[in-house]
């Protein structure tokens, strides 16, 4: 992609300036998202510090193998998105759509597995508000489990938004309302968001599922 192709908004004077500004804006936004999930991490750490045994006990009830499979699914979806963005920069519309479509499928698979996992959790009586008699619903173990539910559902919400963003971008590029490579920045921004959602999961995985010991 060469700079001359880029559509320039009126407040900018150079394509390069606009491009750096767009990336900077997105990085700042993802920085805010980092703080959002970071606050949850701070809580998990604080409770693990205060109640190490119960947290580990609670973690042993999480479905580690589903989560491992889900991690692999998300990491692969990130590869698909990265390949799609690479195609967008080269102006290959269909390759972009293919990459994003693959990522969407993997994302849906992730949500499906996660939903199945929640179902198992609730059957076991781990979930809040069910009133199921379970040793894990008393004391600090419940705090760990509930933070797990909140953090993973917040992640799932972000992932669903990401699915929408990827789909929207792919359709706009396919129908040429967004032109590549001139407006490849749209695909790049969508990609950044998706990868960020992936990074969040990369940390949720060890902090909850691998906290067994």
């Amino acid at each position: 992609m060469t700079a001359e192709h880029v559509t320039l908004a009126e407040q900018f004077v150079q394509p390069r300036q606009q491009r750096t500004a767009d990336f900077m804006g997105m990085y700042v936004f993802l920085g805010t998202e980092t703080m959002l999930f970071g606050a949850l991490l701070a809580l998990v750490f604080a409770y693990r510090l205060a109640h190490p045994a119960e947290s580990a006990e609670a973690a042993r009830h999480l479905k580690i193998w589903i989560a491992t499979a889900n991690t692999a699914v998300l990491l692969t979806s990130s590869l698909a998105v990265a390949l799609g963005v690479h195609a967008a920069r080269a102006g290959r519309r269909r390759a972009l759509a293919l990459g994003f479509a693959a990522a969407i499928l993997l994302g849906v698979l992730f949500l499906g597995l996660k939903g199945y996992e929640y179902l198992q959790d609730f059957k076991e009586g781990l979930g809040p508000g069910t009133g199921a008699p379970s040793l894990l619903r008393v004391g600090p173990a419940a705090l760990f489990i509930d933070l797990y539910f909140v953090a993973t559902s917040l992640h799932a919400v972000h992932l669903s938004v990401g699915l929408g963003v990827l789909g929207w971008t792919a359709i706009r590029v396919l129908t040429q309302r967004t032109r590549v490579p001139q407006q490849a920045i749209v695909a790049e921004m969508s990609g950044l968001y998706w990868h960020f959602v992936d990074v969040v999961w990369v940390f949720l995985f060890p902090i909850f599922y691998l906290a067994r010991a």
């Binding site: 936004f29 998202e33 508000g129 600090p140």
Partner: protein
Amino acid sequence: MTVAAPLLTPEERVSYLAAGATLRSWLATTDHKRIAILYLISITIFFFIGGTAAALIRLDLLQPTRHFLTNEGYNRTFTLHGVVMVWFFLIPSIPATFGNFLIPLMIGAKDLAFPRLNLLSWYIYVLGGAVTVYVLIAGGVDTGWTFYTPLSTMFANGHVVAAAIAIIIVGFSSILTGLNFIVTVHKLRAPGMTWGRLPIFVWSHYATSLILVLATPVLAVTLVLLLAERVFHVGIFDPSLGGDPLLYQHMFWFYSHPAVYIMLLPGMGVVSELVSASAHKRLFGYWFVASASLAIAAVGFLVWGHHMFVAGQSLYASVIFSFLSIVVAVPSAIKVYNWTATLYKGDITLDAPFLFAMSFIGLFTIGGLTGLMLAMLAVDVHVHDTYFVIAHFHYIMVGGTVSAFFGALHFWWPKITGRLYSQFWGRISAMLIFVGFNLTFFPQFILGYLGMPRRYHIYPPELQVWHVLSSAGASILAVGYGLPFAYLLYSLRNGRAAGRNPWGVAGLEWTTPSPPPRENFLKPPVVTREAYAYPIEESGHDG
């Protein structure tokens, strides 16, 4: 400047105000100047809602026990006052209006980096505001603006859920504004506008934006957790599960203490401009003042625990937080001394903006020093959660930020509207506000030291005289705040045309017509001088 109020001056004909008069041309605009006006109107509405709640509080406290509000009604009133004033007036007050209007003008840009995000942020603000109005109509909230758990999650029966949602929503508006400013300052400065030539106003907005983007998300997620606990009975801070309500307080103050600097730093930026402009002289110690803004933003993140000295926090953590709270006073002190030194050998015009700036310095100094007292551990143990704290933060936020807001309004009004207002009434209003403010809040320091807890509806009868004095001051304050709306609105139709530079001061925004054209400058500016370079170069070179 002597033209007698023509319908439209030639400059007004190309101005951003003339770019369209339909509702659509306002509600679908991406012009930062128009969005600033939209914000100005909306925050003014919330200022009056919050002010009405304040008036109710002061009226009701005239008597120690015989009240027209019930205890519950009183609790809902002060909660509404806090929520509206903090999130719907103070936080957006200066950044979203004057920051929005002036940053592109001051750095010589055509607009902010992301104009559509800017408009979106206003719509998000309006949505959050609408939910708040719903809370008000539905009956209010009874937790205090701090929403401490487990009161808010298990015991309060007001509209906690809607209020928390409103705050989460308005938080996104803050984040978008902050993001926009950061990228704009980095990427859209005009040729020649180096960091060393940025007005302090821009520096302090940059510092503010850092806090906006880094702190606001923590508040959002904390409130999400609060909602999860209240609505779905998810255990997060629940003491019966071994949960720790202090963790809520940590998360809350990690946002809410820096939020004080979100309110204050833009005010300091405004005052730096006003002091230099009134003295027609370079700001004393530019680099000290500029870096003090960044220092406040950074160190301001390390002091939140001073809200928790008596909360059951670790003694050691308290000592650390106390020390850091004293450190954060250093850059503030630098600013006050440097403003004073700027006046030395100045050429001072005693106009309304100057009077507002001086009352900012005086009131902020008192607020800051009582803040230092609160940072002293043993003193805080006594005055924590009393009227001493109330007086302290009103000196900072009302004496400081609101004075700066009115100073900014009086200083840039000619630039924004192209019209001059009555200096006589401006000076009267500045002095009324100063006197009324001190009469309202100084007695509250004494009340606090005497042991009057905050959020008390019924209070010991021996404290009544101080409360009556405070309420009397509040009525003067109300007149002082009401006056500008009369003479400023009057000036819109009847004021004389302002011309480019009615104050005869330095600054890029004064080289363009008043009101500025849609593109801000008739031709793209090239900056060759520092900020505050006096004497100024006369007459616009771009016309």
